[in-house]
Point group: C2
Chain length 328, copies 2
Amino acid sequence: MPQYNSVTITDVQAAQERLLGIAHRTPVLTSRIVNDRTHSQVFFKCENFQRTGAFKFRGAYNALLQLSAAQKQKGVITYSSGNHAQAIALAGKLLNIPATIVMPDDAPAVKQTATRSYGAEVILYNRQETNREELTQNLARVGAASRRHRALTLIPPYDHPHVVAGQGTTALELIAEVGQLDLLLVCCGGGGLISGCAIATKALLPNCKVIGVEPELADDATRSFHSKTLQTVKNPDTIADGARTPSLGKITFPLVLHYVDDMVTVSEEAIIRTMFFLWERLKIVVEPTGALAAAALLEGVVKAPQTKIGVIISGGNVDLAQVGKLFS
Amino acid sequence: MPQYNSVTITDVQAAQERLLGIAHRTPVLTSRIVNDRTHSQVFFKCENFQRTGAFKFRGAYNALLQLSAAQKQKGVITYSSGNHAQAIALAGKLLNIPATIVMPDDAPAVKQTATRSYGAEVILYNRQETNREELTQNLARVGAASRRHRALTLIPPYDHPHVVAGQGTTALELIAEVGQLDLLLVCCGGGGLISGCAIATKALLPNCKVIGVEPELADDATRSFHSKTLQTVKNPDTIADGARTPSLGKITFPLVLHYVDDMVTVSEEAIIRTMFFLWERLKIVVEPTGALAAAALLEGVVKAPQTKIGVIISGGNVDLAQVGKLFS
């Protein structure tokens, strides 16, 4: 059973070296209206400006770069219909590593296209009939569907130490830019981003609190955190698609328990209001999951007046054609 | 008749001093996909991140700060349903100068609310029955509607040397950040932004070309530039509401003739495609007028491979509820 020392600050710092000049050093935005409203100084770390539009590129690249020469030659596989898919696809392209992505056959055409545009092979499956983790592991280990997929290395979306370390570079950069923080708010799906960021934050700023934010409708990590027993959620109907993951992972759960100070949830209405606010006032395109951390602050779920607060905007990949419906 | 020396680089530099710590030094974004597509190095100066969501705050604040004590006490007036209204309202609030804004009664409620939220008085008029310039001048000079409006100082949206100088600080900042440029693309409505930016650019980078971009449907400045005679357009039905101005001004026309190298136009479809591209790929909220300069480049109207190109994104104030319709 992995413990909380499966990933350390040294791993996160090593990841930062690997990502130098490859990942974007994303901008940190501030807003007077946010500061006035929260009576605090708020710094938004904008991973929606990251390559592929989300923080996921950090972990994917960090993981792929550390594969052996043989693994790189054979290629990698993962399951994702979201930002991890594009992240692995781009990292694979940059490192000349063949990438196979397992996606549900109802994934938006635009995401399939984006993933293929980076040169990845996309394998579709029926969400009702097939368990994606099993399918992927079969493809990777047994080569069930095609001999070509035999012995591919599986890079899961969050439950992997190199993925966690890569995501943690987000907080390293934020702290390097703004210095002291009293509080860091991070969204939580499978726990890769929050684990990595909490490790980095506690190492550099031991007094800075780290709070994770989930949708009310997908509150498995919050329940896991408070009960100290892994809880799950099944196909939650939240708009925050990045937080629809069934549970924290074997690696991320102990890290969250050890490094994170608290977990809170926000309503679907709060997520949408916050998205609207970020688009309208900060002029940035943020996806629902990307608005989770900001929602906890702007909706008053977390209050920390007279402090310096970091808020991670995790991504900006949305179907723009759907947004009008959401905001009208 | 004002000549092209009505505003000089010294005025723009003085405006920059006045705006220091008041206006945002807005970020400059780059995009690999844009560089790949255009075979050039492109730098987007993002005035959608400026206070009030557009470059207009620069000129408004620069103009208000230079009023006499008596003028400041009596207050200012302007006509605008758009970004200049909010810019004057905020500048007035910051400088404790009463601001009156004349707006058509069909201006979006959200813009009326935003302008009032900065403490400005909003006077509505009927667009069909009333000429706004005449109404405003009457209010300012004669006090026709209310004794309170007697002797207000009119700050027009573009045809004012202090407004032009303020807008020019946009280019000063861009050049300070990125250095040498071969080409600068700027949208053009009444010509305040492009005049100021062209003055600044030609002073600092004499070999850098400056090209203005208008909607095809509102091509008055392009026709004025090529014919060297002031041309007008009446209520053009372009989505780029910031470029619906009837013509260049007495001050801006000679400046455009002297400092600008060329003027081009883009179609409505090109504007919408470019907005969509900037939202989807750069993850920034850009209004139609704000996409004009980028459209000329991304749609191939202006081609400049193997060069360094500055593109000014002028603003990001849009009604988000309408966007879905536009993009779907």
